[in-house]
């Protein structure tokens, strides 16, 4: 019920049409990784996926946003199937990834924002290393670059209400893994794969 209402509201306000450009909506284990510029992003990717895929796909949600407040928490965890992650965990590299590993171990898919925080530029900024560690540990999971067009205009950082501006969700071809590739090179290649999906700026 709530999920249909949320999808309906998302469609009404920001559209969120899915464009599959080089991959298709298949029942495979995947990590969808996207540029991050607004609180709409999770909702956009989630509602752009077909229903069957949605059930087995878990967005990573920052605990400091989605964990706060009963309503938001309920939507984040129960409706969106989200996995709460602490952004400020200290410790050995990749320690904060434990809840993500659990999801992948169970054969389910993830939605990930490797920039770690919302930006306001058209193209994504540098990626954090989580995507690299996960791609190494789970070599059979497909890595799908995803570009979100316009949410930074519909719901910019620091505002309280999204305005109706059409957003699109572009899913690109899976990113291949090269043996022996350095972490930085891989992350840069993954970032470029997301950026390559961005449409020409308007104006």
């Amino acid at each position: 019920m709530i999920d249909l209402a949320l999808i309906g509201l998302t469609r009404f306000i920001v559209g969120g049409q899915a464009h599959w450009m080089g991959s298709s909506p298949e029942m495979r284990q995947r990590i969808y990784f996207a540029n991050h510029s607004s609180h709409l992003d999770t909702l956009l990717i989630w509602s752009a996926l077909p229903r069957a895929l949605r059930a087995s796909t878990h967005p990573i949600a920052a605990a400091d946003y989605w964990g706060r407040g009963a309503v938001r928490r309920h939507i984040g965890l129960k409706v969106l199937n989200g996995v709460l992650v602490e952004r400020s965990t200290q410790g050995p590299p990749g320690a904060a990834l434990a809840p993500l590993r659990n999801v992948l171990c169970e054969g389910e898919s993830l939605i990930l924002f490797p920039e770690g925080t919302r930006g306001s530029e058209r193209l994504p900024g540098p990626f954090k290393s989580g995507l690299y560690w996960l791609s190494q540990e789970f070599p059979d999971v497909e890595l799908i670059p995803t570009y979100l067009d316009n949410p930074s205009r519909a719901f910019p950082k620091g505002t309280f209400l999204p305005v109706p501006i059409s957003c699109t969700v572009r899913f690109g071809p899976p990113v291949a893994r090269h043996t022996g590739e350095e972490k930085e090179a891989f992350l840069e290649r993954a970032r470029a794969a997301v950026a390559a999906l961005a449409p020409e700026p308007i104006g």
Binding site: G15, S120, P156, K157, T159, V163, P164, I165, I202
Partner: protein
């Protein structure tokens, strides 16, 4: 003949017309051989299909009365404004004026029409919106291309909310001796504007040679305009019995709608060109966006509204 009888006959006529169009589309799809011919016919059939849906939506909203019809137009304004703003490079500092446009001015405009407050709904956006929006933008302190940004939002609101809302505003007109016949005026406006577009497309495809404005809109031709415009004026004259106009006046009114509709299509093509796009969106398959279907109506509605209000009420 009662109002309902007239509306029934009119919608039955439209259904017959669309039925004929569907039949022609079916025959053409059997006969089209070449690649480009096939693409044209496929697009034609997608358009006809979408017309069925649009007519159904209008028939239902007319049947449900004034409130629902106003809601339908408010939604049309919402979607066309969304299409307009989506293609307009706005900045984060435009957020507040956009919030005001979508969530305050748009509903307020339609609410003012619903309570028949003519004096205010004709100036809300051109005067108060004009003063409010740049003030909100200025509060954010971003001066980059300030005038351009403010004008874009104001222009989008004028076109998609102010102008389009003048179509359902016809429902508020009190024509002596013809209570409740605003629906017939609205039907007249929409039918002539859309029929003119369709016939210009048909005549253009069949006989189009001489381009009117090749840079702005390569599909607009003298032959298309003349054939389509004359058909629409003739249709307007033939529909005189549903209006307070004489047949000659109905033809003149239809001419005004055709002329404004043509200019609207042309001006909005220029806007699209300047933004580097062909269509406003992809909501209506075969047609493009909602604004691609509403461009002529948006220019024709205020003129038709004022002509009718001035001369017939």
């Amino acid at each position: 003949m009662s109002l309902n009888d007239k509306l029934f006959i009119l919608f039955a006529g439209i259904v017959a017309l669309l039925g004929a169009a569907s039949l022609i589309g079916f025959v053409l799809s059997r006969r089209a051989k070449s690649e480009t011919g096939r693409a044209t016919v496929d697009n034609l059939n997608a358009r006809i299909k979408a017309w069925w849906v649009m007519i159904a939506i209008f028939a239902v909203s007319f049947a449900l009365g004034r409130g629902v019809t106003l809601m339908l137009f408010a939604l049309t304004s919402f979607y066309t404004l969304r299409e307009f703003v989506s293609l307009t490079p706005t900045r984060a500092a435009d957020h507040l004026p956009l919030v005001a446009s979508f969530y305050v001015l748009l509903p307020l405009q339609y609410w003012l029409i619903s309570i028949d407050w003519y004096a205010l709904f004709t100036i809300l956006i051109p005067v108060y919106g004009f003063l409010l929006l740049p003030s909100l933008s200025a509060l954010k302190g971003d001066t980059e291309q300030f005038l351009l940004r403010v004008s874009r939002i104001q222009w989008g609101l004028m076109l998609t909310v102010y102008c389009i809302s003048h179509a359902p505003a016809l429902l508020t007109l009190d024509i002596p001796g013809r209570p409740g016949e605003g629906f017939l005026l609205l039907f007249f406006l929409i039918t002539i504007a859309q029929f003119s577009d369709v016939m210009q497309y048909v005549f253009g495809k069949l006989f189009g040679r001489t381009k009117i404005a090749p840079v702005v809109s390569p599909s607009k031709t003298v032959e298309g305009l003349a054939g389509g415009g004359l058909s629409a004026v003739a249709a307007g004259a033939a529909l005189w019995w549903i209006t307070p106009f004489t047949p000659l006046e109905a033809a003149a009114m239809a001419f005004a709608i055709v002329a404004m509709g043509f200019l609207g299509g042309l001006a909005l093509s220029a806007v699209k060109r300047s933004m580097g796009v062909k269509d406003w969106g992809s909501m209506i398959s075969g047609h493009g966006g909602v604004l691609d279907r509403m461009d002529s109506l948006s220019f024709a509605a205020p003129v038709f509204f004022h002509l009718t209000r001035y001369f017939y009420t």
